[in-house]
């Protein structure tokens, strides 16, 4: 195809061998090396990218958490003086934006990147370089958003940026420009990642892994990717309209010119409601992996689980206007959306019942991961029930824009999503790093978090029903809000301590592992069920030594255990014997590349230019253009990168499955036949 795909040994006219030219200008040769910072910067390995996502999200969690603490400090007592009105607006806006777009979504991306290919038995994702691009795009988008603090003020129009309140008249600083452009960049990351992962799941399942044998987590993540695929363009348009209004003087939200402010609300919530499920479904999937494992039972009602996930994803498109009951959408809309909102509680309820039924009669093991999952089920149920009260429009009229709403969505997103993700951290940590996190510290962090969480957000129900408004910077002493606000602030700091324990746990466990105090774990420390446990921990770069042939759901568990005719479960093999040891050699993997990070770097430049000076944009645009062409002209596989004997590059690039293809070894690992290992 291009010069890069050909062997790069340049022949001298004299026939002499020449030094490799790439050494003089390294920019366009493929990066090399498996260790050091370069190996992370230019990696296209889905597991490393997953870990990067997780690490970045945890850092943003700290940022968003500090913002939350500032809010709580400000509201701790009547007439708080920690933040000015303006600063308060910025802090609560950035808290929401950070937590939704820079913490929960990337955490979900971390799990999907790390686990999806493993769970379907694939070597990598379909487009490894696009995957790397998604991550850098997200990271630079997040950094771009946060640089607004230093560049004239952060966004101050609320995380949903209602126009025209977010227009130039009411928000004259550059903050909302950062919001519009920053979310655009992270949106690109999500969209690209969604397309990539859908192709991965549809096209790269291992032999016998039909859709209906996939773990529930894979299903939920797949549904989330579809939601992202179709929801992101809507917010893209809304953000463009806002940006054109602000930067070029368009009239989309200019009421004086006849515009209707509801346009923004509709567009935002058409995106925003599927977004809610984008945030929660990954946690549902994680809980559906953790709970059966530690209940020693298969998941109760697998098809119901999957179908209710699909139903949630589908119905999530028809309920958006329940965010707008008080905005004057009209009685028919209110009635219709009220009804559809109540319907969507049904599949959610099905899921909760299924988890309970899974635990029912199981031999429960209360590991930290299990505790977090159970906590998430409980907290999500509370949040879900308070959500049903919003579905009733008259009640919602009372609750809108009060702390009751704040309580509701924190119970759902913090109590549901974040606790679920933490459960996932404890569960898959040994898979990613080869050692378990300390259980005692983990349990401590769980109980502290639960206490702090309920102390923070429980009182907000009361405050909301008392009439305390959201997004107010201060309240007076005679309003009667003082006590519960003080409680909530105490709770917030207890929560912070819970997270601190979690971070300390990571630090200490890692240290213990490095110093040899903590034993490395085997492939399957929890006696788990899905395919990712069927390879060594930490997962070798090539994932599986040979292809796995799947013949039923929970294939890995069935290879370890046998169900006798009388219903007794007997062990048929040790996990170590069934699992791959990661020693396979000669597997052709996609090569690292510079272009994803370069391309992602161009986008914030474009955005800064639109805000400050168009010349920066032009530079950014050139970077983007050049990177795209460099990317296209670069062969996805560097023929020199791996000195393995076997190169099937002709077969692969020729058959139409394209540049992103990943090689599979020639021989499958069929059924319970571990000896069939060859290359």
């Amino acid at each position: 195809m291009t010069t890069t795909s050909e062997p790069q040994q340049l022949q001298l006219t004299a026939g002499d061998q020449m030094v490799r030219p790439s050494s003089s200008l390294g920019m366009l040769a493929r990066p090399r090396g498996d260790t050091g910072w370069r190996s992370w910067l230019f990696t296209v390995d889905h597991k490393r990218i997953g870990i990067l996502y997780g690490a970045a999200a945890l850092i943003f969690l700290v940022v968003g958490g500090v913002e939350a603490l500032l809010i709580r400090l400000q509201l701790a007592a009547p007439g708080g003086r920690v933040l000015s009105e303006d600063a308060y607006n910025q802090v609560f806006t950035m808290h929401g934006v950070t937590m939704v777009f820079l913490v929960i979504m990337p955490l979900a991306a971390a799990f999907s990147n790390f686990l999806l290919p493993l769970q379907i038995g694939a070597r990598d994702v379909a487009f490894p370089r696009l995957n790397a691009f998604s991550f850098w795009c997200f990271l630079f988008g997040g950094i771009f958003l946060n640089t607004s603090w230093m560049l004239g003020g952060a966004p101050d129009g609320g995380w949903f940026g209602y126009a025209p309140n977010s227009g130039l008249v009411f928000s004259p600083s550059h903050g909302m420009d950062f919001y519009a452009l920053g979310l655009q960049i992270t949106g690109i990351a999500s969209l690209v990642s969604a397309i990539n992962l859908i192709v991965t799941v549809l096209n790269m399942r291992t032999k016998g892994m039909s859709l209906w044998r996939m773990p529930v987590l894979s299903w939920m993540l797949l549904i989330v990717q579809f939601l992202l695929l179709f929801a992101i363009p809507v917010i893209t348009v809304a953000l463009f309209l806002l940006m054109f209004d602000r930067l070029f003087g368009a009239n989309f939200f200019n009421v004086a010119a006849g515009a209707d402010p509801l346009l923004w609300q509709h567009l935002f919530w058409i995106f925003g409601h599927p977004e809610v499920y984008i945030l929660i479904l990954p946690a549902f999937g994680i809980m559906s992996e953790v709970i059966p494992t530690f209940s020693r039972k298969p998941l109760f009602g697998y098809p119901f689980m999957v179908f209710s996930g699909i139903a949630i994803g589908f119905m999530g498109w028809g309920v958006w206007a329940h965010h707008m009951f008080t905005s004057g959408v009209g009685p028919i809309s209110v009635a219709a959306f009220s009804l559809s909102t109540m319907f969507i509680a049904v599949p959610t309820g099905v899921k909760i019942l299924n988890w309970l039924a899974t635990m029912w009669g199981g031999r429960l093991q209360f590991t930290t991961a299990m505790l977090f999952s159970i906590g998430a089920v409980a907290m999500f149920t509370i949040g879900g029930l308070s959500g049903v009260t919003h579905a009733i429009a008259p009640a919602d009229t009372q609750q809108t824009d009060t702390f009751y709403i704040v309580a509701h969505f924190h119970y759902v997103i913090f109590g549901g999503s974040l606790l679920g993700m933490l459960s996932g951290f404890y569960f898959w940590w040994p898979k990613a790093f080869g050692y378990k996190l300390n259980e005692r510290w983990g349990k401590a962090s769980f109980w502290v978090l639960m206490l702090g969480f309920n102390l923070t957000f429980g009182p907000m129900h009361i405050l909301g029903l008392q009439g305390m408004s959201r997004r107010i910077q201060s309240y007076s002493a005679d309003a009667g809000f003082s006590f519960w606000n003080a409680m909530a602030t105490v709770g917030a700091f207890v929560t912070a301590i819970g997270f601190l324990i979690f971070i300390m746990n990571i630090y200490r466990s890692r240290k213990a592992y490095r110093s040899g105090l903590l034993k490395p774990v085997g492939p399957d420390p929890w006696d788990a069920r899905a395919l990712e446990w069927m390879t060594a921990s930490p997962v070798p770069e090539h994932n599986f030594d040979r292809e796995i042939v799947v013949s039923r759901q929970d294939e890995f568990w069935h290879r370890k255990w046998e169900i006798k005719d009388d219903g007794k479960v007997v062990r048929r093999a040790r996990a170590e014997d069934v699992a791959h040891d990661g020693s396979a050699k000669g597997i052709h993997l996609p090569s690292p590349s510079y272009w994803p990070i370069i391309l992602a770097l161009g986008l914030p430049l474009l955005a800064y230019g639109l805000i400050f000076n168009i010349w920066i944009s032009i530079i950014g645009g050139l970077v983007v253009l050049g990177a795209i062409y460099g990317w296209v002209l670069e062969s996805p596989d560097d023929p020199e990168a791996h000195d393995h004997e076997e190169h099937h590059s002709d077969a692969v690039s020729g058959n139409g499955s394209g540049p992103a293809d990943v090689h599979l070894p020639a021989v499958a690992d069929s059924g319970a036949d571990p000896a069939a290992k060859a290359l």
Binding site: V199, F230, N251, A584, V652, G656, D673, A675, A676, A678
Partner: protein
């Protein structure tokens, strides 16, 4: 276990637990899976279709924003009836439709291995696309001279945004077409990589489809 398997087996010792219930399928699997995909569809094509599915929501939002904005245009402001030049836009639509034809002919030529035909038709496609964009710039200029700027009123903002988005899509498409042409001229895009042409073609046809919608909904529907 068959003889072949033992012969191929890695020297690393691994204990066979029990007889494989379905240990006979390996060979077929190996052949199928090297480069094959689960659905038999190439990654790239699936990616392009997913992208186009996502674009439906993008243009849907823009078109409905336009329709809504137009309906909210205050009385007496400069509106569609004052500026639209249907005969000219009809020609533009025709040009874009024909570019879809030339695109599909380019792909067909490439599939047959007729690279000369491919080059001719791909050039014709980009030229027709260029003509379309030139027509759009002409149209914008005329509208502007009639007094409809981007910031003039809500109709102006919505109209220029919608058609501008489409125009940018066409322009990006032309750049991609020219890149295809250049890759072919450099010898790196032959019939064995015809799928690349097909992908860009899909994008191009989609842009054409969007114009079919815009032409009818924005220009032809009774105002």
């Amino acid at each position: 276990m068959t003889e072949t398997d033992t012969a191929l087996a890695d020297p690393a010792p691994e204990v066979a637990q029990e007889q494989a219930p379905q240990g006979h399928a390996e060979e077929a699997v190996a052949v199928q899976e090297v480069g094959g995909t689960t659905t038999g569809i190439s990654h790239n094509k699936l990616m392009m279709w997913l992208f186009l599915g996502s674009e439906c929501l993008l243009f849907g939002a823009l078109i409905s924003t336009y329709m809504f904005a137009k309906s909210r245009l205050p009385e007496g402001e400069i509106g569609p009836l004052d500026v639209f030049d249907i005969p000219f836009t009809s020609v533009s639509s025709f040009v874009l439709l024909m570019s879809s034809l030339t695109m599909v002919l380019a792909l067909s030529a490439m599939n047959r291995g007729n690279e000369r035909g491919f080059r001719i038709w791909i050039t014709a496609t980009s030229l027709l696309g260029g003509t379309f964009v030139a027509g759009q710039v002409y149209e914008f200029t005329v509208f502007y001279n009639h007094g409809l700027g981007y910031t003039t009123n809500i109709f102006g903002s919505a109209f220029y945004t919608l058609t501008g988005f489409h125009g940018v899509h066409v322009s990006i498409g032309i750049v991609m077409l020219m890149s295809l042409l250049m890759m072919n001229l450099r010898g790196s895009l032959g019939p064995d990589r015809a799928e690349r042409v097909e992908l860009i073609g899909l994008y191009w046809h989609f842009v054409d489809i969007v114009w079919i919608l815009i032409f009818t909904i924005i220009y032809l529907f009774p105002q």
